[in-house]
């Protein structure tokens, strides 16, 4: 327990030290404060920005896009992944292709999304969806493969219907892998949406960050970076917390 506590203390220490170094570099002028505003100034700006209605609206826009893209990509991807994993032929044919598709950087397709959807909600959600779906498909096939044949045979020998097998064997077997997949998918999804916003958009927090950057508003830019980092970390930790609660399922 003591060592666990020590690890936590060291971890907090590192974060505090990073902010301290940041503050010091800026205050002493080792790094030009116009390029790197101090940590305290940045956090003050962050508080200030969060009061602004326009920033709140941008956050709401981004959140809506992220949630929409996620809510579309996860079920669609899971369905495709499930179909692929359940059919040996599909799986043999499609799996290498998926790996090919997955290895391509998705950002090079962004101009095409703008041409097809124009600049707006559909383009950003579409690109977020596109950024996310491959990892969802691949994770789902992994999750289905983690279902043990022995467990399926047990269910069959006790007369389980396909529905019962799905909910009582497949789902609980897959849940730990799926939760991890959900977490990683969200990282891809957030990256996709924010990238689309920064590239071409009229609103959203990604667009704001790009604008602040272009106008050399470093305080606002860094505040935006901290804001998005905190949101991403919070979501990640939330899912990780659920994951640890069902970690004993992995036996």
């Amino acid at each position: 327990m003591q060592s666990g506590l020590a690890v936590k203390a060291t971890r907090v220490g590192i974060v505090v030290a990073l902010f301290a170094i940041w503050e010091m570099l800026s205050r002493t002028g080792i790094v030009n404060p116009r390029l790197l505003p101090s940590a305290s100034d940045t956090l003050a700006t962050l508080g200030d920005l969060l009061q602004r209605a326009s920033v709140r609206k941008d956050l709401a826009v981004t959140a809506t896009e992220v949630v929409t893209a996620f809510a579309l990509a996860v079920p669609v991807g899971a369905m495709i992944g499930f179909l692929i994993a359940e059919n040996k032929y599909f799986s043999d044919v499609a799996k290498p292709l998926l790996f090919f598709a997955f290895s391509i950087p998705k950002s090079i397709f962004l101009p095409m999304f703008i041409l097809v959807f124009g600049v707006g909600f559909a383009q950003k959600v579409g690109f977020g969806f596109f950024s996310t779906i491959f990892i969802v498909i691949m994770s789902t096939t992994t999750a289905v493969e983690s279902v043990k044949v022995e467990h399926l045979t047990v269910a069959r020998s006790y007369g389980a219907t396909p529905m019962q097998t799905a909910f009582r064997v497949y789902l609980p077997s897959m849940l730990p892998v799926l939760l991890e997949a959900l977490r990683i998918s969200m990282i891809f999804n957030l990256t996709g949406v924010i990238l689309a916003e920064m590239y071409a958009s009229r609103d959203g927090i990604g667009h704001q960050i790009a604008t602040w950057g272009e106008n050399f508003q470093m305080k606002q830019l860094l505040a935006g970076v901290v804001m998005i980092a905190v949101i991403a970390i919070a979501f990640n930790e939330l899912v990780r917390w659920v994951e640890t609660r069902c970690s004993h399922w992995r036996t």
Binding site: K148, E150, H151, T153, V154, A155, R156, S157, Y158, G159, A160, T161, Q164, R168, V169, P172, S173, L175, C246, H248, W249, R250, T251
Partner: protein, 265 residues
Amino acid sequence: MQPLANITPLKPAGAIEVRNVGQIFKTTTQDVTALEDVSLDVKPGRFVVLVGPSGCGKSTLLMMMAGLRQQTSGTITISGAPIPEPDPNRVGVVFQEASLFPWLTAEENVEFPLALRRVSKDERRAKAQDALKLVGLDGFGKRHPHELSGGMKQRVSIARGLVQDPPVLLMDEPFAALDEQTRMTMGDELLRIWAATGKTVVFVTHSLTEAVYLADEVIVMSPRPGRIVDQLQVSLPRPRTYEMLSGDAFGTLRDRIWRHIRKSA
């Protein structure tokens, strides 16, 4: 598949009849005959053990008795009726290790077959408690499988097989993954449970000692193609004891099985 409409009177619950059963596995390159012309009768309440080297089809035969696999030719009846699909009211199955659901507690695992039939929560719990008590796991119901030893896990599996009170219990190498001491203890436990419940048991194993120690009758099978090469009646008195293992009668039976197996291996 046979029509279910033959109006034959039901044989006594727990009787197993296997008639001229064959099983051919088709692969892309060739057809493999896993079982050929296998016939056997198991009377209700008997303890029958199937032994034979790997690939003799003993597990395949067991899976067909469970309705988990259909034979290519011949007929199998359980309690007088064919078994075209698994029927937990007639047959309980106990598998090799790792067949418990790790996300359920011991008692939830035992309740699983009842939950599939939408038995009420109270009745389920009561029956699971009885089954766990029968296998000597009273008080362990709330534990998850990873908190149980290998022997205890197999006790839970047996309880799950018995919870619907089927007349037949089929066991596919249930103790194969256990260490030898646990295995001996589990053998005695199984015999106690069998004596207490009067089930028909068909038990598949690789261990000749285990076979003779447990069985009323040992069926010896040979591979390629799988068929029955010998049937031995084990007339050792019950309850079986550890001392019998070193007796002449025991040795004679075990040697006879070994000669068959050596020939086919």
